[in-house]
């Protein structure tokens, strides 16, 4: 839509800017400060410039972790987005007890602290005492031992991730669907449009804004994911499920050098930033025709 030009809009935005900047800029500057130093302890610091950055970027283990991370985030988007939208389409439209119960149930996975999720799934997947593990191992007959088999570790992590975060996509998509005025459905009925046409020409276009948020959000959050996979697999077997943030923490804990960890963090941040920016621009261009 055509926007009004008005610099006074800054006043409406000011509280947000102040709040976020307060929490972000000062710490960020501190981190940048650390990243260019070799810090032995609080009194012994040595300025090393971009040494940490070079060392980190050339590290093959980092590159592998980055690759694994990209595959992971890619899978997350490929599974969660379509699944989330599909489920949102099946949800009841009218108010009443059905939709209240559905909304509450769908929201449940999101509300559990992430370390608890990991822990529960650890037991859940154990072939001896866990519900799913037992089912796979005894009923389906597949030898299930995810701590030692890389592909099973991946599947386990993916299952847990999809179970945990698809509800976010569902809620966003559903809210987006509810925002479509009834008149559009009525007009489609008058035009004898098929359910597929209603989806493709009315529902999907009207959900574009919401879906863009869902894509960016899931991409970013999955790129930064730490607690759940760490609790479930510890990054293993070996390096199989060591995603980027798990690698970062291993590095920081292992190396015990704040400077190096700070440099890695900045690099990490920039990677996410670049990818997100590209995503954002692509989605914006696809949406441009929507401008009212």
């Amino acid at each position: 839509m055509e926007k009004w030009q008005n610099q006074c809009a800054w006043f409406l935005v000011m509280p947000v800017v102040l709040l976020v900047a307060f929490n972000a800029l000062i710490p960020l500057m501190t981190v940048v400060n650390y990243s260019v130093q070799d810090i032995f302890d609080s009194t012994h610091r040595l300025f090393v410039g971009t040494e940490w950055y070079r060392e980190t970027l050339l590290n093959t283990r980092l590159q592998n972790a980055l690759l694994r991370q990209l595959v992971f985030s890619g899978l997350v988007l490929l599974i969660e987005l379509p699944l989330g939208v599909a489920i949102a389409l099946t949800m009841p439209r009218k108010g009443g007890w059905a939709i209240s119960a559905t909304l509450v149930m769908i929201a449940l996975p999101l509300l559990i602290p992430w370390n608890v999720i990991g822990t529960i799934w650890v037991i859940f997947l154990r072939p001896d005492v866990g519900l799913l593990g037992h089912f796979i191992d005894h009923t389906l007959g597949i030898h299930f031992d995810y701590p030692t088999v890389p592909i099973q570790a991946w599947i386990s992590v993916m299952m847990m991730e999809v179970w945990h975060w698809t509800p976010l996509v569902i809620l966003l998509a559903y809210a987006g669907l509810r925002s479509i005025p009834d008149a559009y459905y009525q007009a489609a009925s008058i035009d004898t449009a098929s359910p597929w046409a209603v989806f493709w020409y009315i529902q999907l276009p009207k959900m574009r804004g919401v879906l863009m948020i869902a894509v960016l959000l899931r991409f970013m959050d999955s790129f930064l994911i730490y607690t759940e996979p760490f609790v479930l697999t510890g990054g293993g077997p070996g390096d199989a499920t060591t995603f980027l943030s798990i690698y970062l923490v291993k590095l920081a804990v292992g190396e015990f050098d704040v400077g190096k960890a700070a440099a890695f963090s900045i690099i990490y941040f920039l990677i996410v930033l670049v990818f997100s920016y590209v995503f954002y621009q692509v989605l914006l261009r696809a949406q441009r025709g929507e401008v009212r």
Binding site: M1, E2, Q5, N6, W10, L12, V13, P15, V16, V17, L19, V20, N23, A24, T30, V31, G95, A98, S100, T102, L103, V104, I106, L108, L110, L111, P113, W114, N115, V116, I120, D128, V129, L131, W163, P167, L168, L171, L172, A175, G176, R178, S179, G209, V210, I213, L216, M220, D221, Y226, S245, L248, V249, V258, A261, S265, Y268, F269, L273, S276
Partner: protein, 267 residues
């Protein structure tokens, strides 16, 4: 109610969704030894001592209360500052608006661990450690951008003609906002409120770093389930079950906001 094909898919999904939750319930009603010894679809001898322990131990239930307190404060702050900002981003063009919009989102792109030490030092210097407001403010770092982005998306679905009609009818901006606008973006407000609540509720790092005893959140208290003999699975599961309750209440309260959606009546 007519059982349509699509509801069957929904039912299947809900069933799959509830399995791990059921499992958590299952674990919460059993002894540790029992959990570790065999797989039981239903607990043979359900016990409630896990729940009793949590509900009677002050350090446990204060954890819940503390969490609920700072999360609520955070949600309110986020909504209050994000709504005007979302409106501004949607309706106005101003210097640097596109860059500002994207910059907001970048604050969710850094691994939180990075900010821990500097944030701790900052809040410590301000004397705000171990207060609700500290955690509530710290969480606005990632929640406010999310709120602004979601609300902006919903704001843009409302035609500008409605604003103009209201202004011609003599509404002032605040009155228009409260009486006309927010009801129109109900779904967005409901969803945003829930997400702010949720992300703040489950956040562990900042909550742990910025609190000591007075404002210690439930997530931190739960780490106490690790003892010399290992993890107390049953207790952890019971705590997990109880953590769901506040969030479930929140989404129950905003359900009408989300489900009723766009109310374009006679304007």
């Amino acid at each position: 109610m007519k059982l349509r094909l699509r509801f069957i898919w929904l039912l299947i999904y809900l069933l799959v969704l509830l399995l791990p939750i059921y499992w958590m319930l299952n674990m919460s009603l059993r002894d540790n030894n029992d959990i570790m010894s065999r797989m039981a679809l239903f607990p043979d001898h359900p016990v409630i001592h896990n729940y009793v322990q949590i509900l009677t131990d002050p350090s446990w239930y204060w954890g819940y209360i503390n969490s609920f307190a700072y999360v609520s404060i955070n949600t309110v702050i986020c909504l209050v500052v994000a709504l005007p900002a979302a409106y501004a981003f949607s309706r106005y063009r101003f210097l640097g608006d596109k860059h500002l919009f994207f910059w907001l989102l970048t604050n969710r792109m850094a691994p939180a661990a990075v900010f821990l030490l500097p944030v701790f030092q900052l809040y410590s210097a301000l004397g705000l450690l171990d207060t609700y407001i500290a955690v509530a403010l710290a969480h606005t770092l990632f929640n406010v951008p999310l709120a602004v982005w979601i609300l902006e998306g919903f704001t843009s679905t409302v035609p500008r003609e409605i604003d103009e009609t209201a202004f011609i009818d003599g509404y002032s901006l605040p009155r228009f906002f409260l009486m006309v606008f927010i009801p129109l973006i109900r779904a967005g407000v409901g969803v945003t409120a829930f997400f702010c609540f949720m992300f703040s509720w489950v956040e562990l790092l900042f909550a742990r770093t910025l609190t000591v005893t007075n404002a210690k959140p439930i997530a931190v208290v739960m780490t106490r389930t690790v003892s010399a003999s290992g993890l107390d699975w049953g207790l952890l599961a019971a705590a997990g079950m109880l953590t769901i309750v506040p969030g479930a209440l929140v989404i129950y309260f905003v359900r009408n906001y989300i489900a009723k959606g766009f109310a374009l009546g006679r304007v």
